[in-house]
């Protein structure tokens, strides 16, 4: 719900950039192709939601919104729609834009009118980044598209219209660009363009002309021909008049808009001293910060200015030069992108060309700033102006970092403050799950609606999915806010989680005299002595006023669980004094009614009840006469960490990554593994406690733990002789390993408290059925004791499948496998994640010889998002080697790894045969003929290869010897795993996956199937089931889930399994082992519960069982090897449905949501889903029996 009010007939709304762009795009379009990608996804989500509600466009028709399988698909569909005469648009960013690139050339080459709205974002290079810069759009600058930049939320709305209007008149297609996150996700109060304004600017004659050019059998033409050397060049030059005309068309459109709404834009807008000698030139959100700083410096008498480039393509030299102040001596052109190896970045090059071609006596200097949303604040901007003061300023500089490698960076003053006193600045440190961001969005909208203030809200999110931290930055004041940078000195600091004071330094942001609001269990009389000494010092030295409230208790009293949003919001309104108390309270109540009304009066009453009880619980802490002496903040990482962790990971964890110099970072994006173990997040208040007397040592708890925090070990009694007091153990129930001790231990600081282990534990006390072998207990009292036990547990020896006690384990039994050390641990995945247990199991089985190709998505984020990684190594230093290429190419990426390994192994064998006579011939023979069909045999081969390498070091160093040393490790069998989610496997990467499966190479594909795009927030994929509600399928998915397994089975030579650990863990284990052992392509499709399903995540494994028992998720294994032995290759591993489908479906919000919203449709889709499941089951049963009957008995 968006709040709005009218000022002199103009609608004012507080919205973000994505909504501003989508608003215009939707109103003036007929066909919209979409595909989710951060940070552009919300534009598509808005369009889809509006379309599904039947909201019309400007001409009364509802735009068709179509989710495609990739951005490439969206561009293709758009191209077709445009050719057929539609007004069409799309939204994307980053890699998505790259996938559209071929169509960009086509669309522009055919002079087709359209606008693509781009939330500009970094391109994946040494690493992926979801944050904002211009790397993506700069790649397209040669495609022939117009490029119009918006610098603020208001400008997004305005430029969106200017782009749509201009493209129709000019026939040049436009990219409408604004900065990802900084503008796409920033909320500001803006004037909404009315339909009258839209109609005035969109030229009907131009639309008719667009339609007349469309493909029609009534006036047939052909387009998209192939041309030869005699014609192509001339044809390319034929478009020049259109590009020459476009800048004037855009300016005319800008002028027309100004005549209607009063906001005058130019292709190049100059702001600053008319006699400026030093000018910064840039595009995008950074313009706001520079404009703010120019105002400040002009006030100090400095002759500086800023040139804001709006129309980057087609670039008009004349307009550019005319916009510059005549006396400018030095220009600093700032690019928010990097082109390694170039003579300069794109904007610099264009400005330089313009200046030179116009004969100006002005020197031009280029600089880079703000990559991946790196902060760009006044201190940095002043440093650039200062640099321009010198007679010979540095060229090709960087600003905002410390470059101690190439020494490009300018020094700057990080503490420079230029904000006006009239602006209120508030910062909120929230826990992701507590609703802080949502409350702040509401707050800023209330302030925009109820007061005369202008507003701005920006939110900084964590890279972790569980226990995530959010920091909200809110500004409001009498003038429009242009400060496009984070708040440095806040008047109000709210800390919604007490331990943030221990882990971070939120009060560092507090300006002298600021108000601090702290949510904690302590009251005003007892909180002071518990504050960390650093916070105490800050409060006293800066004269901060401290208020406390126990919001969690209040929330629980009102059935709000941990969501303290409305409570903390009420405190904020009381303390920031933005409006009269009762007006503020009623505004919050109304906001609650508007936001939650359709969820029922219960929710409204719960929240309003909490609001009305809040102020009586708010207490001010009397700091007069208090003394220092609080506890020292705990270190985020232990002392005994590796150097890299200490010097790089540690600062990153402390939020000090901006301070790290260039030299701290590996230049090729290569990082050490096993770093998650050093990050002690302590996000859970409770942990499981083990009861050895009840435990049946089944290993299920260890298996399902998404974070590998609960571990089991076998050891000798002597090894636990010196265990700390209370270290729990039991006699091991392994007949083959008599006399051993079994123990289970939890990593208390890493546990997320998801309770999956407790839920899955089958062992109950015979006298008290509510007591299991694992029970959740409060962590706070036992933390120190448990830490000691965990430290000791880690000293106990790990088992290795290849040797010693480990070799006696039965790898077909869950309980045995769960004694093996996981090499995927402590990930930042959601608490209760359904994907990570599968990955962990993989590493227990094959981790020390695995190579992993990981598609972009959840698994690449919790697997590879800095500052830490859960992928780890064993005691011998071996473990999974992991990499993420892209979203769309992961199967191919993994296949390439296989090809490389195979070729190196072949080369090793050639070399071995060549050099063999100089070595131990028996050893060489054994290596070449080694059977590596079991872990024990692989272990022996590893020993042989180690001996081989020893011998190679001792013989004369020939080229062949050196070559063999370089590749000899590949003589030990390696396991290639291609891992990704259903968005990759079913949609964007399906073509590649299909191709890889169609081949014969020994790769293993693991699809972590959540049946939805989880990482980008729950958009429908082709794996989404009939009747499920998802974004882009908000009326319930009306087509069946794609049967990926059946498609793969159709080849006949592909091992295929569908598994669900929570339903049958033994079948999962069997499938993993069979797939890995199969010497050809293997595909495992693994049911993975997800928070997008709308379930109690502690019951995730139970949901898996329901999915299988209801017939929704059929377990099977298709083993081509069985066919070779005359058996049926297909085995169905589950019985026919034994519960009703709806018992499963309606236990998940993704289905029950539709039942509540539209029961008739839900019922119809349920019936179709039931019928579809029955049909599939019958098909599979027929397949599973048919061949058997035909096979010899």
């Amino acid at each position: 719900m968006v709040l709005s009010y009218d000022v002199a007939g103009t609608q004012i709304r507080a919205i973000d950039g994505n909504e501003a762009a989508a608003h215009v795009a939707y109103r003036v379009s007929e066909v919209i192709g979409i595909y989710p990608i951060t940070p552009a996804s919300p534009m598509g989500e808005h369009a889809d939601a509006w379309s599904s509600r039947g909201i019309p466009n400007l001409w009364g028709a509802t735009p068709q919104v179509m989710e495609m399988q990739s951005e490439g698909g969206a561009a293709g569909a758009l191209h077709g729609a445009l050719q057929a005469g539609a007004l069409a648009t799309t939204f994307t960013a980053s890699q998505g834009l790259l996938l559209m690139l071929p169509n960009l050339y086509k669309i522009a080459g055919e002079l087709t009118s359209t606008v693509f709205h781009i939330a500009a974002r970094s391109l994946a290079a040494q690493a992926l980044s979801i944050f904002g810069d211009h790397s993506d759009v700069m790649v397209t600058r040669a495609s022939g598209w117009g490029m119009l930049f918006a610098n603020s939320v208001q400008e997004v709305m305005d430029m969106a219209l200017i782009a749509h209007a201009s493209t129709l008149r000019s026939r040049v297609p436009f990219l409408h660009v604004f900065d990802g996150f900084r503008t796409s996700h920033e909320i500001q109060d803006i004037e909404i363009l009315s339909d009258d304004v839209l109609r005035a600017l969109i030229d009907c004659d131009a639309i008719h002309a667009h339609r007349e050019r469309s493909l029609s059998p009534d006036h047939p033409v052909i387009r998209g021909t192939a041309q030869n050397p005699d014609t192509f060049f001339q044809s390319r030059e034929s478009v020049n008049p259109f590009y020459r005309a476009t800048p004037e068309i855009v300016q005319e459109t800008m002028d027309q808009l100004a005549s209607l709404v009063g906001r005058q834009y130019h292709l190049f807008d100059y702001t600053g001293d008319p006699e400026a000698e030093r000018v910064i030139v840039l595009m995008g959100s950074g313009c706001g910060a520079v404009e703010d700083t120019v105002r400040y410096l002009n006030g100090k008498g400095e002759k500086v200015g800023v040139l804001k480039v709006r129309l980057f393509r087609p670039f008009s030299v004349r307009h550019c030069i005319e916009a510059l102040p005549p006396g400018v001596r030095h220009l600093a052109v700032l690019d928010r992108t990097k082109e390694p190896g170039s003579a300069g970045e794109p904007l610099y090059q264009d400005i330089l060309t313009a200046v030179v071609e116009s004969g100006m006596n002005t020197k031009v200097f280029g600089g880079r700033y703000g990559l991946s949303s790196k902060e760009f604040h006044p201190g940095m901007i002043k440093a650039v102006f200062d640099e321009l003061k010198s007679e010979s300023p540095r060229n090709h500089f960087t600003i905002g970092i410390v470059d101690d490698v190439s020494h490009t960076s300018l020094d700057f003053d990080p503490s420079m403050m230029i904000e006006r006193d009239s602006v209120t600045r508030a910062v909120f440190w929230g826990l992701g799950s507590d609703g802080t961001v949502g409350a702040n969005k509401n707050s800023i909208k209330i302030i925009a609606e109820y007061t005369a203030n202008h507003t701005q809200a920006y939110f900084v999110y964590d890279s972790k999915k569980s226990g995530a931290r959010t920091v909200s930055h809110l500004r409001f004041g009498p003038e429009r806010i242009k400060s496009t940078y984070l708040i440095q000195a806040a008047n109000f600091v709210a800390v919604h989680q007490f331990n943030f004071l221990e882990r971070y330094d939120p009060l560092a942001m507090a300006a002298p005299g600021a108000t601090v609001l702290l949510n904690c269990r302590y009251d005003a009389g007892s909180v002071w002595e518990r504050l960390p000494s650093r916070a105490q010092k800050q409060i006293l030295e800066r004269g901060l006023r401290l208020f406390v409230i126990d919001a969690y208790s209040l929330a629980q009293e009102h059935h709000l669980s941990m969501r303290i949003n409305t409570i903390m919001q009420t405190c904020f309104f009381e303390l920031c004094d933005v409006m009269e108390k009762e007006t503020g309270l009623e505004a919050i109540r109304q906001s609650i009614r508007d936001t939650y009304g359709k969820r029922g009066s219960t929710i409204v009453n719960d929240n309003i009840g909490a609001v009305d009880s809040t102020l009586e619980r708010l207490q001010e802490v009397d700091t007069s006469g208090v003394s220092m002496g609080g506890p020292e903040p705990a270190s985020l990482i232990p002392e005994d960490t590796p150097q890299f962790v200490k010097e790089v990971t540690g600062p990153l964890l402390r939020g000090e990554g901006d301070l790290l110099p260039v030299s701290a970072f590996p230049p090729d994006g290569t990082y050490p593994v096993g770093t998650a173990r050093w990050e002690k997040r302590n996000i859970s208040h409770s942990i499981p406690e083990w009861e050895p007397d009840l435990c049946i040592q089944c290993g299920k708890c260890v298996l399902v733990c998404p974070h590998a925090v609960i571990r089991a070990k076998l050891c000798s009694p002597g090894e636990v002789a010196d265990a700390p007091d209370g270290f729990k153990r039991a006699s091991a129930r392994w007949h083959d390993l008599p006399g051993q001790v079994f123990t289970i231990q939890v990593a208390p600081e890493d546990c997320t408290g998801c309770q999956l282990c407790v839920e899955v534990c089958p062992a109950k006390d015979k006298s008290r059925s509510n007591r299991k072998a694992l029970n959740m207990i409060s962590k706070s009292e036992l933390l120190e004791e448990q830490k000691v036990k965990w430290d000791f547990f880690q000293t106990l020896p790990n088992l290795n499948r290849g040797d010693g006690t480990g070799a006696k384990l039965d790898a077909s039994r869950i309980r045995d496998v769960q004694l093996l050390p996981p090499l995927f641990e402590f990930s930042g995945a959601c608490a209760g994640c359904g994907e990570t247990p599968y990955l962990k199991l993989l590493t227990q089985l094959f981790g020390d010889r695995m190579v992993v190709a990981n598609a972009t998505g959840c698994s690449s984020i919790y697997g590879g998002n800095l500052p830490t990684t859960p992928w780890s190594e064993n005691d011998a230093g071996r473990g999974p080697a992991w990499s993420n290429s892209l979203f769309e190419d992961n199967a191919e990426f993994g296949l390439g790894m296989r090809l490389a390994i195979d070729s190196q192994r072949s080369y090793s064998e050639i070399l071995l045969r060549q050099i063999g006579p100089e070595l131990d011939e028996a050893l060489v023979k054994e290596i070449l003929q080694a059977d590596q069909s079991s872990e024990e045999l692989i272990s022996r081969q590893r020993e042989r290869v180690a001996r081989l390498k020893d011998q190679l070091h001792q013989v004369e160093g020939t080229k062949e010897v050196d070559d063999l040393l370089a590749v000899a490790d590949t003589l030990v069998r390696r396991s290639v795993w291609i891992v990704g989610g259903d968005g990759w496997a079913y949609d964007i990467g399906y073509g590649g996956l299909d191709h890889v499966l169609a081949g014969s190479h020994d790769v293993n594909v693991l699809v972590l199937d959540t049946e939805v795009y989880s990482n980008t927030g729950g958009q429908a994929s082709k794996s989404t089931s009939l009747g499920a509600v998802a974004k882009f399928a908000s009326s319930g998915k009306s087509t069946p889930k794609k049967d990926l397994g059946r498609l793969a089975m159709s080849y006949g030579h592909v091992y295929v399994a569908r598994v669900a650990m929570g339903a049958n863990d033994a079948q999962t284990l069997r499938a993993f082992r069979e797939a890995e052992a199969y010497k050809g392509p293997s595909l495992i499709i693994a049911y993975s519960q997800c928070i997008a399903h709308g379930i109690d995540m502690s019951k995730g494994m139970g949901q898996q069982k329901l999915a299988v028992d209801s017939g929704h998720w059929m377990l099977f294994r298709y083993h081509p090897g069985r066919a070779e032995e005359g058996e049926n290759p297909l085995q169905i591993d589950c019985k026919p449905p034994k519960i009703k489908l709806e018992e499963y479906l309606y236990s998940e919000n993704r289905y029950s949501q539709l039942l509540r919203s539209d029961p008739d449709t839900a019922a119809a889709l349920l019936e179709r889903a039931r019928s579809d499941n029955e049909r599939r089951r019958a098909d599979y049963e027929a397949l599973a029996t048919k061949v058997t009957e035909e096979s010899p008995s």
Partner: protein, 337 residues
Amino acid sequence: MNLETHYLGLQLAHPLVASSSPLTGDIDGILRLEDAGISAIVLHSLFEEQIIAESRHLHHHLEFASESYGEALSYAPELEDYNRGPDGYLELIETARRRTKIPIIASLNGVTPQGWSDYAGRIEEAGAHALELNLYFIPADVEVDGRAIEQQYEEVVLEVRAQTRLPLAVKLCPYFSSVPNVAHTLVEAGADGLVLFNRFYQSDFDLETLEVAPRISLSDPAEFRLPLTWTGILYGCIEADFAITTGVHGYEELLKGVMAGARVTMMASALLRDGLETIDKTVRATRDWMEKHEYESIEQMRGSLSQKHSATPSAFVRPNYMQTLQSWRPDPALGHS
């Protein structure tokens, strides 16, 4: 032969009414029941507790993990409407009224004073012919005495009575120290009818999982004797319309119930187990029995075997119990010695 009866001021073709069950939960079931010849329908209950729980459940899942991770600020689309609360139920009342000719009796189970009275008012607006209050509360708190529970029930009836002019029946459980006193109190508070009795969903244990597993089982004809007994005792003592709703499986229970004083008998389990043709069979068998025994009307037999009109009123109290015990003989087929 006149099988007509009056219940809660409503004229019914015969005394067989469909009790609240899954069959009365949607319009298809209601139409089928009417086609099968039922005389009136008690809709499935509107549970305020369920509405509250569903709202909180929905809210939790729509909010869970939202606005905490930059790539996914939410995980579910916000739909236009969630049909939460009583809207669907009220629509069912309206539809049933529009599409049937038999009386539609709504059923309500509230948990808050506001819920009872608000929903009662909206049920009346939706067009229900009458309202049955499903007083269903398991007092598991040792601190709460019996009188407090009875007061709570009384207050509910008073509140609802003040809110609606609809004919009001109260469905009771049998577990009161003094059923007559409670029945009297509720009628004084405004109840027009008493429905005997509610069947608590009783717990069961799953021996494999060692979990308590609530289980709904169909009623048994033997359960009929409890409401029969109390109807027989209360008839004539308390001015209210009585309905018997547990263990009614055929014409015999119907006849016995009327003879005890009930204006209607309500059937659910037999319909679920044996199908809707049970209605016609029961009505026909009732008519046949009445013809055979030369009864002219249902009214004629109402209360004829109640304690007030029985030839042996003491049979309803303890001596009867003793006689019953003494008359028990082992079943030879079971091999008791």
